[in-house]
Structure formats: structure tokens, C-alpha cells
């Protein structure tokens, strides 16, 4: 039993940290961000984001786990996880769906033409993807989706509506799941397409979340996409989506840990009344309990990384990590605000907001994680059924 990072993994992380320090010194995100950049909405913020990502691409850091034949570094998934966690800890952009989900899926099932057309752009940071999965009537039950794609010669014509397409306002492409089979064909009638976001017929309408950042509704009216943009065979999209899901799960440890750090920073400095909150034994007890949960989140993530690195199967572990961490996000922000009292109402940008208001925002954002990326109810089903062998539920 050994809880250390291997020397080469520690060296890699040191190198990546040094690189990010260098970017910081050059002016990339030199001003500490109060709000996570993935949530930024202003045009200048989006420009800063894409400049940062293109820089990562230019310097060869986007294709960490890509095989060298595709221009990547051929690194282990463990090192990829360390890099993603480092970005998360520094609150740098990390929603790199193209690099992780799209590219790896294309390497497995994409055509040679698609690999040629898309991988270099993703690797350079020029192409960014958003996910077109969820519809108003199809959330957790994704196999019920009804956005329609009909073959018309060398093109497909797409009609329908997607919702919660986060990142559509800055993505170049949408990774779209559409129905090509009969309306009731469920898993057997879905096809995946890569659709340029500026294709005529696409209308993007902003949806502003309760945590202020933007997601989108996307309407598709007679949107024409070349057959060459179809990923895999027609009606075999479900297996493409399942494959993509494998690359979506990157355990994150450091988001919760960095929020714990924010709480500790707040608690150990004098407040506006000149009192240090952590001098109060009751406050210290709360901090102690939160620190335990943050450590559990770290160890749950570490365990997945360890299993994957050793090529062992993972079953319930990612679901345990997802449930525990997302429930902690809410608990941590909730308890922190409760310690702050009335001043805890003050958010980012408000004069005198404790901890710069970050935890007020974290609290408002915290519900989303529990239902996004596989609801925690489904995750608990997975733990019980796949992890512990209890009977499969009646979901189809």
C-alpha cells in the first residue's frame, strides 16, 4: 500500500505548475479571478479564455493523453487528471470538452477524414465543442431524445431543440445527438453529428442560471450538415455516446479543496468586527468537519486515478466520487455562509463581502452539480447495482 505519487508523475505536475506560473507571469489570468472562467459571459472574458486555451495548445499541453501519432504527449490518464485538477485548483478554464471527450471518441470511431479535419484544430485550441444532448423532454432519460436528423442526399437535415447547451456561445461546434430512427426507437435510432455552430438554421438563446453564468437553448431549423460530419454509423450513436461518457469522467478533487481553503482563509482573518472567527471553538468544529469531507473527496478521486493507472476496472468508484463531492459543494458553502451570518449574503463585487463573496456564489451554484452529469439518484443506483450487485432497476 502506497499513497505517494510516483516520481515521474510528481515531476510532471511540477513541470505543469511551472509552466502555468510562467503563463501567469506573462499576464494570462494575472488578475485573480473571482468567478470561474468557464462561467464568464462578457466578450472580453471569452476572448481571454480562448487566448489562454490556444496558448496551451500552441505549447503542446492540450493533447496530454493523446497518442503521439496524433500530436499528443502520450501521457497517462493519471497525469491528465493531475493537470485537470491543477487547472481546477487555480480556477483556470478546464471545460475542455473537445480535447477530452470529442477527440478521444474520434480516435476510436471517427473516420480518417474526421481525424484529419478535427484533431489538429482541437489540439491547437482553435476548435471548441459544446454538448448537444439534453432536450426539454429528455434529461436523464437521454434515449428518449427527439431532435430529428433526416438524410437528404449528401446531407442530413436537422430539426429540433436542445437545452442547457453550456458553452454554445463560445464553441465552434456542437457534438449533437439526434434521432435518425423511428420516434420510439430509443437507443437504436440515435446518431451523433459534429455541427458547426454557425450553420444557418441554428438559433442560440441564452439561459442565465441562478448562479449568474450562461447556458443556452439551441434551436435547429432545417440545419444542413454534411454526411461526413456524422460520427460512426447511422443509428449507432448510442455506443458513440457511451464511449464519450468514458472520457467525460475526470475525478475532481481540488474544487472542494480550494473552497475549503477559501473558508479557512476567511475564518483565520479578523472580520469587520475585528474578531477572528476561528477563535470560536464552535467555528473550529465546523471547519474540522468540513476538512474531513474535503479529504474524503480527495481520496475518492485518488482511488479512481489509482485504479485507472493500474488498468483495473472501475464500477461504483466514479459514482461515489461524484455523489460525495457534489453533495459536499453544497454542504461546504452552506456551512461557510452560516458561519458568516448576515454578511454572508453579500456576493462577488459587493463591498465588504466576506471571502470576496465567492462562497455566496458557490452556494448558489452548488445545486447544479447534484443533477448535472448523471443525477445523484442515478449515481446511487449505479453504486448499488454495478458496485454491489443489487438487482437492475426497470429503467431501459
Amino acid at each position: 500500500m502506497d499513497f505517494t505519487l510516483a516520481a515521474e508523475d510528481a515531476a510532471f505536475l511540477d513541470e505543469f505548475r511551472g509552466y502555468l506560473d510562467g503563463l501567469h507571469a506573462e499576464g494570462h489570468y494575472a488578475e485573480p479571478e473571482l468567478v470561474r472562467p468557464d462561467h464568464h459571459v462578457r466578450p472580453d472574458q471569452l476572448e481571454r479564455r480562448s487566448a489562454f486555451i490556444r496558448r496551451l495548445g500552441k505549447d503542446g499541453w492540450l493533447g496530454l493523453t493523446w497518442p503521439t501519432e496524433y500530436g499528443g504527449q502520450g501521457r497517462s490518464s493519471l497525469q491528465h487528471w493531475l493537470a485537470m485538477d491543477e487547472l481546477a485548483y487555480r480556477q483556470l478554464p478546464s471545460m475542455l470538452l473537445g480535447v477530452s471527450i470529442v477527440a478521444h471518441t474520434l480516435m476510436h470511431v471517427g473516420s480518417e477524414q474526421q481525424k484529419h479535419d478535427f484533431l489538429p484544430g482541437i489540439l491547437a485550441g482553435d476548435l471548441e465543442f459544446c454538448l448537444g444532448y439534453t432536450e426539454p423532454g429528455s434529461g436523464t432519460d437521454l434515449a428518449s431524445l427527439q431532435t430529428r436528423a433526416v438524410r437528404d442526399g449528401a446531407e442530413y437535415v436537422i430539426n429540433g431543440q436542445k437545452i442547457y447547451t453550456t458553452g454554445a456561445q463560445y464553441a465552434t461546434h456542437v457534438w449533437l445527438a439526434a434521432r435518425t430512427g423511428a420516434p420510439d426507437s430509443r437507443h437504436k435510432g440515435i446518431t451523433v453529428f459534429m455541427v458547426p455552430i454557425d450553420t444557418p438554421g441554428i438559433t442560440i438563446r441564452p439561459l442565465i442560471t441562478a448562479a449568474d453564468y450562461r447556458t443556452n437553448e439551441v434551436f435547429y431549423d432545417d440545419v444542413r450538415v454534411p454526411v461526413a460530419n456524422r460520427v460512426g454509423e447511422e443509428n449507432e450513436g448510442w455506443s458513440v455516446l457511451r464511449l464519450a461518457l468514458r472520457f467525460e469522467r475526470t475525478p475532481q478533487a481540488n474544487r472542494a479543496v480550494s473552497e475549503l481553503g477559501e473558508v479557512l482563509d476567511w475564518a483565520t482573518a479578523p472580520d469587520h468586527r475585528g474578531e477572528v472567527p476561528a477563535d470560536d471553538p464552535v467555528v473550529r468544529q465546523e471547519l474540522a468537519a468540513l476538512a474531513v469531507d474535503a479529504e474524503i473527496v480527495r481520496l475518492f478521486a485518488f482511488r479512481i486515478a489509482d485504479l485507472v493507472a493500474r488498468g483495473e476496472p472501475v464500477t461504483a468508484e466514479p459514482s461515489e466520487s461524484k455523489v460525495y463531492s457534489t453533495e459536499l459543494y453544497q454542504r461546504l458553502a452552506s456551512r461557510a455562509l452560516a458561519l458568516m451570518g448576515p454578511a454572508g449574503q453579500l456576493g462577488v463585487g459587493e463591498p465588504g463581502a466576506p471571502g470576496e463573496g465567492k462562497l455566496e456564489l458557490a452556494f448558489r451554484e452548488s445545486p447544479v452539480f447534484q443533477f448535472a452529469a448523471g443525477t445523484n439518484e442515478v449515481q446511487r443506483d449505479i453504486i448499488a447495482q454495478q458496485g454491489l450487485g443489487l438487482p437492475r432497476s426497470s429503467r431501459k
Binding site: 500500500m1 505517494t4 505519487l5 479557512l264 471547519l287 482511488r303 493500474r310 439518484e377 448499488a384
Partner: protein, 363 residues
């Protein structure tokens, strides 16, 4: 990184599993508890004979000891072994005298010792004597040596008091679970021969926390067993025409139990591993103890809920896990004291540097 057991560790665990299943399986816990001694002498002799009493003292490390204790916890074993190892580790870490070395050597060869500390009562040192009344001392009746922690201005003074010394009275008392505890009354002369060493407060805290992490290993083992029992039961128990394990409400209980049990085991192994390889472990140990203590109560009470009536019957073994989870939690000290120590450790670590202490992985 390798969170699985080494071959040697796996062999040790396999050996423990077999020996415990032979001499003190959980199905026999009530029968063993009803014997005069309250523990399996055969299992105890095996522990000595197979070298488990040397783990962390003369042989292997506290990590191997924790792996043994996990298995004791899994089978709800009541035994003087964990208490005597806890006493041995305190003397091993903090003792400085010949008497300390001699006592550790005797524990390795099977001498029953147990700790008497401020959580049990207040020791009043006075003119070469130690006086006090100490409640719920583990395996007091039958212990050959008491390792008494006497608070002094600059820390904790440790003295060895043989059970045969004049002025030692032991009164057995029934505990909530199947372990044995007793009230120890001391009014004994302690001369230079009794001195084991004086520990500074930080060293005493470390030694105490190592003991807490090892108890957490036992507790985590109990939680793992409670989870396994629940999974087995809900697959066999049929109601409304099928196993109750098909109901989502039941599955979600079990999923929560798994997260609790996994977290308790991971925290505990991480803390004990740190101690075994000589890294700072105190904050991790306090976390493991606090979490395992509270999580095991949740897990064992949920397994009771899923079992229904049978889990509430004395004649079935399940209640041992529930009672042990609570009693072991109490033996870790008051909730308030545990969180106070942990709060101190968290703030001390934050002051040293958040990133290095909370973010960086051991390298």
C-alpha cells in the same frame, strides 16, 4: 501509488481472516461474550504465536497492525489484543527508560497491558504516589500492567503499575458492546522503577492520535461487515414478490453505506500509512477517527433498518456491529474533544501553508 495491499500484506490478511474465522467468528460473538474471560484465549494465543503482537513494535509496521485490526472489526471480535497493542505503541513511542523497553518486550510476548489516560479519569500525583478513579478502562480485569498517563505541567508522565501492586483495585463493569471494561482505582506508590518516560504535549497528542487511527481501522472493519451483511440480506429477503434489494429506497441506503464504509477505510489506511512511513499523520489520523466513529454508527444503524426485526434480536449477531460502532466511537473520546483536536490540527496545517498541507499529494 498503489492503494492495494502488497503480497506480504495480502498474506497477512489472509492468515488473519482464517484464524479469526476459526476461533472467533461473528456468529460466536455472543457465546464468547458469555464466557468468564469474555474473549477467545485460542485467538489470543494465535495472535502472540503468529507475531501479531509484534506488529509496529518489533516487526513490520503499524500499517500491518491496522490490517489485522480491520479483520478483528469485521468479525466484531472482543479481545484484549487491541488495547494491549495501543498500550504497547504508546510506551514504544514515548518510553525512554529500561522499564519501558522491558514492558514493550513483554507485550510482544503476550503480556496483557492496557492504557489508563485522562479520558478515563483524573490522576492526581502526590508525594511519590498516583491516585485516582478511572472508568471504562479497557480489559482492566486480567490486565497484568496498567500504563498510566499522569498529566504534569510540561506534558504527560507515563508510569507502569502492575496489577499486583498494593493499592490497585479493579472492578469489572458491563459495557454497551461485547468488549470488557472496568473501573480501576489507584492509590499506589510509584518509584523510579515505575517511570516509563515524560512526553511533551505534542508527542502525547501524536501517540494518542495513532491509537485513534488504529481504533478507526477496527471501526472501519465493522462498517465494511455491516455493509456486506446488508447487501447479502436485501438480496435474499423477499417481500412483495421479490428481493427488497430491488427497491430504489433500499438501494440508495446501501449506496450511502458504501460511501461511508469506503471513506472510513480510505481515511484510516491513508493516516496509518503516513505513520508507518514516518510522515506527519496527526491531522489525517484525527480525521479518520472522527469520520469512522460517526460513519460506522450510520452504517450499522442502516443495516439494522434494512434487516428489520431479526437485527434487533439478541440471538442474531447483527446487533454486535451496531453496539460496537457506538461504543468504539465513545472510546475515541467525547465528540467535542475529538473535534477540538481536529480543529486545532486543521488550523495549524493551514498556518503552515494550505497548498502543501491540503492540496499536494505525498511524493
Amino acid at each position: 501509488m498503489e492503494l492495494t495491499l502488497t503480497e506480504d500484506q495480502r498474506a497477512l490478511v489472509d492468515s488473519v481472516v482464517g484464524v479469526v474465522a476459526k476461533y472467533a467468528p461473528i456468529e460466536n460473538a455472543s457465546a464468547v461474550a458469555a464466557t468468564p474471560s469474555g474473549y477467545s484465549a485460542e485467538l489470543f494465543d494465535q495472535a502472540v504465536g503468529l507475531g501479531w503482537t509484534g506488529l509496529g513494535l518489533e516487526d513490520a509496521s503499524v500499517l500491518e497492525l491496522a490490517l489485522v485490526l480491520e479483520q478483528f472489526g469485521r468479525q466484531a471480535v472482543a479481545s484484549p489484543y487491541p488495547a494491549m497493542m495501543a498500550a504497547g505503541l504508546v510506551v514504544h513511542r514515548l518510553g525512554t527508560t529500561d522499564r519501558a523497553r522491558e514492558l514493550v518486550g513483554r507485550i510482544v510476548t503476550g503480556t496483557r497491558a492496557t492504557l489508563v489516560t485522562p479520558v478515563h479519569g483524573r490522576a492526581e500525583p502526590a508525594d511519590g504516589r498516583v491516585r485516582g478513579e478511572f472508568r471504562a478502562v479497557e480489559w482492566a480485569d486480567g490486565a497484568a500492567e496498567f500504563v498510566v498517563a499522569v498529566p504534569v505541567p510540561d506534558g504527560v508522565r507515563l508510569v507502569a503499575v502492575p496489577a499486583t501492586a498494593d493499592g490497585v483495585t479493579v472492578t469489572p463493569t458491563a459495557a454497551m458492546d461485547n468488549e470488557r471494561v472496568g473501573t480501576v482505582t489507584l492509590d499506589v506508590a510509584v518509584d523510579a522503577d515505575a517511570e516509563l518516560g515524560v512526553a511533551e504535549p505534542a508527542a502525547w497528542r501524536s501517540a494518542t492520535l495513532l491509537g485513534a487511527a488504529l481504533r478507526a481501522a477496527e471501526i472501519a472493519g465493522g462498517a465494511e461487515r455491516a455493509l456486506a451483511a446488508a447487501v447479502e440480506h436485501v438480496q435474499q429477503r423477499n417481500q412483495f414478490g421479490g428481493p427488497i434489494g430491488r427497491f430504489q429506497a433500499v438501494q440508495h441506503h446501501v449506496a450511502n453505506m458504501r460511501m461511508d464504509a469506503d471513506a472510513a477505510t480510505l481515511l484510516t489506511r491513508s493516516a496509518v500509512w503516513r505513520a508507518a512511513v514516518g510522515r506527519p499523520f496527526e491531522r489525517q489520523a484525527a480525521m479518520a477517527a472522527w469520520f469512522a466513529g460517526t460513519a460506522a454508527e450510520r452504517v450499522t444503524s442502516t443495516t439494522n433498518q434494512l434487516h428489520g426485526g431479526i437485527g434487533f434480536m439478541r440471538e442474531y449477531w447483527l446487533h454486535h456491529l451496531f453496539h460496537r460502532a457506538k461504543a468504539q466511537q465513545l472510546r475515541l473520546g467525547t465528540a467535542r474533544a475529538q473535534l477540538a483536536v481536529l480543529g486545532d490540527l486543521v488550523l495549524e496545517a493551514h498556518a503552515r501553508g494550505f497548498r502543501a498541507e491540503f492540496v499536494d499529494w505525498p511524493a
